[in-house]
């Protein structure tokens, strides 16, 4: 079994961190453990991360000292959650105003913009976890050829719905925010709506496919 390091973060959180590399298999166990521990009375909150999981204890006074061993045990007993694999299609307008960095990514990869769009939209990405912003998916599966360094100067505001690449990751910004990713396009789909249940479009385990729209490059 993959080795894990467990430790306290402050006095009210406990973290389990797996040894690299990241694999879908161990991430599936993290989803399983997240689901299982959410119901646990000692646990106030669970935050799955990339190859790690953080628990907030409901009553650190009672449980912090044992929490490290306890979490290790829970991990060993945990099972992979083969999430009922949903495929979520995200329509994307690639290029032009919606994707001002498409050309940059194409030049970096030695491809044409059309080839970048074709490659980026040909893969079923997996949502590893949601974090950073409400509904922001950390997606696994970007083709090596599309890995592109972040912009030297981050934009002061990236519009909501922007689809981009930052290093080896691709993702979608649910809200307008400052950001350094290379922007390929934009989706009109809302990833976060606090008035809906659930408030986020995506959840860990979902497959995501980007579908080029005819208003953009395709």
């Amino acid at each position: 079994m993959q080795r894990a390091r467990c430790y306290l973060l402050g006095e009210q959180a406990v973290v389990l961190e797996l040894e690299p590399p990241v694999s879908l298999q161990s991430q599936q166990r993290i989803w399983g453990l997240t689901q299982h521990l959410q119901q646990h009375q000692q646990v106030a909150e669970v935050i799955p991360g990339m190859n790690n999981i953080t628990l907030l204890l409901r009553d650190p006074q009672q449980s912090a000292l044992d929490a490290v061993e306890q979490l290790q045990r829970w991990w060993e007993e945990s099972e992979a959650l083969e999430a009922t694999s949903r495929l979520v299609e995200i329509p994307v307008i690639y290029g032009r105003d919606a994707g001002p960095d498409l050309q940059v990514v194409a030049e970096h990869a030695g491809l044409t913009p059309q080839q970048v769009v074709e490659l980026h939209s040909s893969i079923d990405y997996v949502v590893y976890f949601i974090g950073f912003q409400p509904g922001f998916p950390y997606l696994g599966g970007l083709d090596d050829r599309l890995h592109t360094p972040r912009r030297a100067e981050p934009r002061l505001s990236v519009p909501a719905g922007s689809v981009g690449i930052g290093g080896s990751q691709t993702g979608i910004y649910p809200l307008a925010t400052p950001g350094g990713w290379q922007l390929l396009g934009r989706t009109p789909v809302a990833l976060f709506n606090p008035h809906q249940q659930p408030p986020t479009l995506l959840r860990p385990g979902d497959s995501v496919r980007f579908v080029p729209q005819k208003e953009g490059i395709c």
């Binding site: 402050g10 909150e45 991360g49 650190p60 006074q61 912003q133 509904g135 976060f192 986020t200």
Partner: protein
């Protein structure tokens, strides 16, 4: 109804936060000074975690549109109800039409206004806290503006007299536990972390307190994978200048964690002004637990005293 005549710099509706949503990327939020919020609520007979107004650096004015009781806690403002002085840490009566004015505090940064009966605003995702970054919750997902009219809840009990409590004190000596990456920092950086009077940068906000001082050098360039974050975590980005995460911090991140402020001391940061120094004191897990218990007991004691006053 509470009519806002002058909203001030950054007045928001906040409660104890939106828990249980971090795995959807939604920050916990809520007041930065929890004991001050709870004290204000206890004084006016509300549930301790009810919503209050968090007022930054005073400069606030509001008219009460009904009779009632209110309490002001936190930063020591020169506050007045019409032309009578208002003490912080007291429950006071107010008549319809009276105007509460807060000027710049002499000491501290954030004041909390609780009103008996609370605010009659619908919770979103289980909380009345304002998420300014995502633009939802609280009052229309934003800071209050001049002219806003906030509906108030119905009073549930009758108070006969004023009452005051001794508020929790605050200072700038903040206890912290070494973080998971503490040992990756050079010995000099570790010492500098505990010895430096860190200046609170003007770029600090409800997401994070940015500190200025000597650059802290980490001896490895190992990249961390994104992990869960909680308020109190002290991150060190590549420029070596630490950031203490506050209530509105993002839910996950990947910077090394040199320390974590203990829960019982987090509220003190809410009251430190931009440009003022902060000292970190290394503490142990048992001390953190004890501080936590002391703080809880102090508030329980306060609640008991107020419940038995009449």
């Amino acid at each position: 109804m509470l009519r806002i005549l002058r909203a001030g710099l950054a007045t928001t509706l906040q409660d104890s936060g939106r828990t249980g949503w971090r795995q959807s990327g939604i920050s916990v939020g809520g007041v930065l000074d929890l004991p001050a919020m709870r004290t204000a609520n206890l004084l006016v007979g509300n549930a301790p975690d009810s919503a209050v107004l968090e007022i930054v650096l005073g400069q606030f004015k509001a008219e009460f549109m009904r009779d009632g009781w209110f309490a002001l806690t936190g930063a020591a403002c020169n506050a007045e109800l019409d032309d009578k002085p208002v003490w912080t840490g007291w429950r006071l009566p107010v008549k319809k039409g009276q105007v509460l004015t807060l000027s710049m505090p002499l000491h501290g940064m954030r004041s909390y206004l609780a009103i008996h009966g609370g605010f009659d605003v619908a919770p979103i995702l289980g909380s009345l806290s304002t998420d300014l970054k995502a633009g939802f919750g609280g009052w229309e997902g934003r800071k209050l503006e001049d002219g806003d009219r906030l509906p108030l809840g119905k009073p549930t009990q009758i108070f006969t007299r004023k009452a005051g409590v001794r508020q929790l004190l605050w200072g700038n000596r903040i206890r912290a536990l070494p973080g998971p990456e503490y040992h990756e920092f050079s010995r000099e950086a570790q010492q500098a972390f505990w010895r430096t009077p860190w200046m609170l940068s003007p770029q600090s906000n409800r997401m994070g307190y940015r500190l200025q001082g000597p650059a802290l050098h980490r001896e490895t360039t190992r990249e961390l994978l994104s992990h869960g974050l909680v308020p109190g975590v002290v991150q060190v980005p590549p420029n070596g200048q630490p950031i203490v995460l506050m209530a509105d911090a993002q839910t996950t991140g990947g910077y090394p964690r040199i320390a974590c402020v203990i829960d019982a001391d987090l509220y003190q940061l809410a009251q430190i002004r931009l440009g003022e120094p902060i000292h970190f004191l290394q503490c142990s897990l048992p001390v953190a637990m004890q501080a936590r218990m002391h703080q809880r007991r102090a508030l329980e004691h306060m609640a008991w005293g107020l419940a038995n006053e009449n």
